[in-house]
Amino acid sequence: MNRPYVECGSKKTTYRNTGAKKQCTLKKTVRYAVAEKGFAFDSIEDAKDKDKWDAAVKDKKLFPLYDAEEYAIADTEATYWEGENTRLETTPAKKIRTFRSILGLCSYNALKSFDGQEMQAFEFTTDPGIKAVLTEDGKVKGQTVVLNIGRLQDATSELPQNAVVTVNYKDFNEREDFGADLRPEWSYLELYGIFDAFVDIVSADATEIKFTVSSGCGSGDELVTELTAADVEVRDAAGGVESVSFVAADPTDGIYTVTGTGFANGFTLGLVKVVSVGDMSFETPEPAKITVA
């Protein structure tokens, strides 16, 4: 005989052992790094390996955000319907954190690209530590969150230009039940996001192009002088890669040279995808267009 089928959703578990001589806790969160959905480090060891983090950043799977100032708890409590004999939850509690980041315009613009996106958030603490989540198969991922990026706040006499970020956690149980508190040997201060790199053409003719590469916001003022031949490509107007000779940057002025034949208007010069220099990664938002003298 058929009858209604309803799953109650009860998560009652057996009591766990409570023995403890020392409480191991991480300190305050000072920076977030968010990963795209589905990303996880293969193991706890990998999640503590700085090279694995750098590789994930270079692959654009993982994005370190900016320093989190004024990190605060902004949880909302559950709401209930109160009857004469019973009390039922009508709105679940939400785990919410907020922080303020001091930001230049370009960094704000980058941060804004994460607004409303569901990501997986790793939290760096001052210990240095990392708050993460263990998956059933032993991988390490971030807590599932949606970021809301506040408006850019102009500087005042009390506060530099900044924006407030609200981190909405999808399920507070993720950390409470499956959390992983890691203590890596390195600090979040050593982890960088990908830097935009801008190619400035110094001179160009049919056989030689001289150029500099700078990082930072806008045109940037910090020259990148350690690129190699494999990091740079010249493409013709149709997009084909040209075979060129490459001369490393002149240490006196940071100017690189590429030589070849047949360089013409419409050719472009840029970095080859994301390139690494030490523990920093660079990418040209768009290659420089060549205008031949």
Binding site: T228, A229, E233, E242, A248, A249, T261, V272
Partner: protein, 71 residues
Amino acid sequence: MGVYKGITFAEGYNKSFANFKKEFASTHVFKNIPSEKREAELEKAYAIAKGTSKKQKNGNSKESTSTIGKD
């Protein structure tokens, strides 16, 4: 792909020595070499450039018709 100090030569480099000098002698790599030794170093570098016959494996590898090597 031949490499001499800071210079990575294009695959299949086959220009004349005169053109090689025109192309690279004014770069900082050779300008920093004392003049009495510069010619010998240019010849050494030219041999490296000409001796490259392996296919390039990096982003500078050729994907379209190129005029490199034509004088």
